[in-house]
Symmetry: C2
């Protein structure tokens, strides 16, 4: 078999951001308003600090404004909800990103749900999930939405393909499954209780790994020619798929880093520009 | 192989209604209020008239009140939304059932979404779907919730089982998949674009048919000993599974009629009693 196509997440994320930049420019021309994303960080986890910095920097790269809210580690749920509500009510803010995970004393779901659907550009609320699952307008959860950008950029036709999603979290496995279903794939959702996971993965024409265990998926689990989309990002820049053994079995594969990672932020930025357009009374698809 | 267990939906629905009746009695004792479900029917489809009558009758059988709203076939979306909003605001009404399908000029999704989540006892709103998918408190969609009542009543342990759901509708296939996932099954969702459906169905330890095509699923598609849950109800009292050929291959099977059908209404009634308890400030699980 010939070498697989290595899916270039950086290239795709640049294309997505370029679209966002054009939309932002048109929003500014039409309304004089600069779209703005606020990042909300609770605590001082170094990785979370880096992520929120990257997200704000990327905002500015496409011509948007960004704001940061940083709250102490010991913030209560009520305090966080009050802050998010304040941001939700602020017409100068078009998107709200709550960096997760939040410290354990906080009810993360309640905090997510405090984000108005119109500003939920990271796609974490129940309303966003439900709308997406029902093929209605709304924001996709950023990581699976970024994976869909890869699927589109590489002209991967999901119709009738068997997609196997490993993981069932509310912000990755479940929305990913719904997005693949909307693209007419037959979808299998696996998780920690799945019996004989390798034989289930073996059926996947498309395999999405979202388990958070380094090098978990092995090449000999894969069907010959599978498309491998690795949403894992573990310490040491290691994905959920064992790249070395998966590479020769796949027809397309995302590297880690440089695969799914960059597209998550691009999806967030793009959705912020779309949200801003809608909040300012413009049609985001016709600017 | 020995004959399969024929799952008795009438028996299970009586048990569920008995629980609802006990809850209703306690609600009345504690608050003096009688829980009330309103059925909303647009048009005069004979089957829909029968269904809404059955639902109201079943309400009264468990000691609840019922109300009916009947609107002419030519009702507009705005008129229906206004009526649903009025019912949503009425504190004497605890559950709202919009009989579907509605006439084609009506935006059915908008009508569903007009039902407040607290009164969405049929589990048709995005909020109910999302909450259920994220394992949060909310109302399950009535037909898959009724199927879960069968699963519980027959002590079917879904953990690690491979469940194959045929159909991806917002009120059946998708919520069913999420409920089976919450019960720790590995879940595959199939649909009209699925390639080689029989070979996918063959993997199912549990098969849920929700396609709306009479006698669609054949016995030779099934794994030996599969549990067959037939959510189909087609003209002439015929399910989506070919009972004659499926019966000998299965270990448990729902007949049509008398399988899934009765449990749908029981789930609606039960959820109305739960919703009423919550709206009246009582804990539905501790009455």
């Amino acid at each position: 078999m010939s070498d697989p196509t290595i899916i270039d997440g950086k290239k795709v994320s640049k294309q997505v951001q370029e679209q966002a930049a054009q939309r932002v420019e048109k929003i500014k021309q039409a309304t004089g308003v600069t779209p703005c994303l606020v990042t909300v960080l609770v605590g001082s986890d170094p990785a979370s600090i880096t992520y929120t910095q990257m997200k704000r920097k990327r905002c500015e790269a496409v011509g948007m404004k960004s704001m940061k809210v940083e709250l102490p580690t010991e913030t209560t749920t009520d305090q966080l909800l009050a802050k998010i509500k304040e941001l939700g009510d602020d017409p100068a803010i078009h998107g709200i990103l709550l960096q997760h995970p939040v410290p354990s004393q906080i009810d993360e779901r309640a905090a997510f749900e405090a984000i108005p659907a119109s500003k939920d550009v990271d796609g974490v609320t129940i309303a966003s999930f439900g709308a997406m699952a029902f093929d209605l307008p709304g924001f996709g959860c950023a990581t699976p939405a970024g994976i869909c950008d890869l699927i589109d950029a590489y002209d991967i036709d999901c119709t009738g393909k068997h997609a196997v999603v490993i993981g069932r979290s509310p912000i990755l496995g479940k929305p990913m499954a719904m997005m693949l279903l909307a693209r007419h794939a037959t979808v299998t959702i696996c998780h920690s209780r799945t019996v004989d996971l390798p034989s289930v993965v073996k059926q996947g024409d498309i395999v999405v790994a979202a388990v958070g265990i380094p090098n978990f998926v092995k090449g000999d689990w894969l069907k010959e020619g599978a498309i491998v989309l690795d949403a894992g990002y573990n310490p040491g820049n290691v994905g959920d798929c064992d790249y070395e053994s998966c590479f020769p079995k796949s027809s397309m594969i995302t590297p880690v880093p440089g695969g799914v990672g960059p597209t998550t932020i691009a999806a967030l930025i793009n959705q912020t520009s779309i949200g801003a357009a809608r909040q300012l009374g413009l049609d985001p698809n016709n600017l």
